[in-house]
């Protein structure tokens, strides 16, 4: 069961990674809507349309991660400690705290994407979005590396 949840968790994380990356690029380096190149089209996406799906995916991924975290705590972390893999262990500790802080940023993230913005609010929206992208990328990469070290069922 944990393996199934882990796979679903990973699939949701991939979708979230794509959505938040598109939104971050489009808000930090906006491009023309009619661009021809791959990068240009990526910069030209409609960033506001990603908000609801990013919030849903972030919460859903975090909940699934929270469920399988218990199994990780029993079956994986102990092994990391026995193998002296402190960097991997520390990277996961950072992941859990970054994800938790991201949960607390969701109301502000939603708010800044949903209302007409002042000048300072536009900067806040861009930085919050970029912070979410960092948290999601960090979490994805750390989860991927740890799964390579000690996947469930191995």
């Amino acid at each position: 069961m944990t393996t199934v949840l882990l796979i679903v968790h990973g699939m949701l994380a991939v979708a979230l990674l794509g959505a938040v990356t598109h939104q971050t690029i489009s808000v930090l380096a906006p491009g023309r809507k009619t661009a021809d190149s791959f990068v240009g089209r990526m910069r030209g996406v409609s960033a506001p349309s990603y908000v609801s799906v990013i919030i849903f995916l972030y919460v859903a991924t975090a909940i699934l991660g929270g469920i399988i975290y218990a199994e990780y705590r029993i079956a994986v972390r102990v092994v990391l400690e026995q193998l002296d893999l402190w960097k991997a262990n520390g990277a996961f500790e950072l992941k859990e705290h970054f994800v938790a802080l991201g949960l607390g940023m969701l109301p502000a993230y939603w708010c800044f994407w949903r209302q007409p913005l002042g000048e300072g609010d536009a900067r806040a929206r861009a930085v919050i979005t970029a912070t979410f992208a960092f948290i999601v990328w960090w979490s994805f990469l750390v989860g991927h590396i740890l799964n390579n070290i000690r996947g469930f069922g191995s």
Partner: protein, 112 residues
């Protein structure tokens, strides 16, 4: 749809208070509840490990969320002028500062 500034202020206050409370909760272990994964049991507040590790992460999040929710509700009653002056940048500055503090707190994992 345009939302009132008080809603905006509540969202900023929630994020700021949540980030600070979560940091304090982790530092001082103020978990609202404890989970014992080996036993698949929850217990109120902070409990020592029983037949395996004790997990406080869920409890820290719950503590931070409740405190932040109360603060956000109270923020709705802030005078209009104060709400207008609330810098929206707190919503990213405080969480990022918290992330830096956590990185420092956990730096021992990367230097041993």
């Amino acid at each position: 749809m345009t939302r009132p500034r008080s809603f905006h202020s509540s969202a900023v206050v929630f994020t700021v208070v949540y980030s600070v409370t979560y940091l304090i909760a982790v530092q001082n272990n103020y978990a609202l509840f404890t989970y014992h994964p080996a036993l698949e049991e929850f217990g109120p507040l902070v409990q020592p490990p029983r037949d395996g590790p004790a997990m406080y992460w869920y409890g820290w999040i719950a503590t931070a969320a409740i405190v932040a929710l109360v603060a956000a509700v109270l923020a709705r009653f802030m005078p209009g002028g104060l709400a207008q002056r609330l810098w929206s940048g707190w919503s990213w500055a405080v969480p990022i500062a918290s992330m830096v503090v956590f990185s420092y707190m956990l730096s021992g994992f990367f230097t041993r």
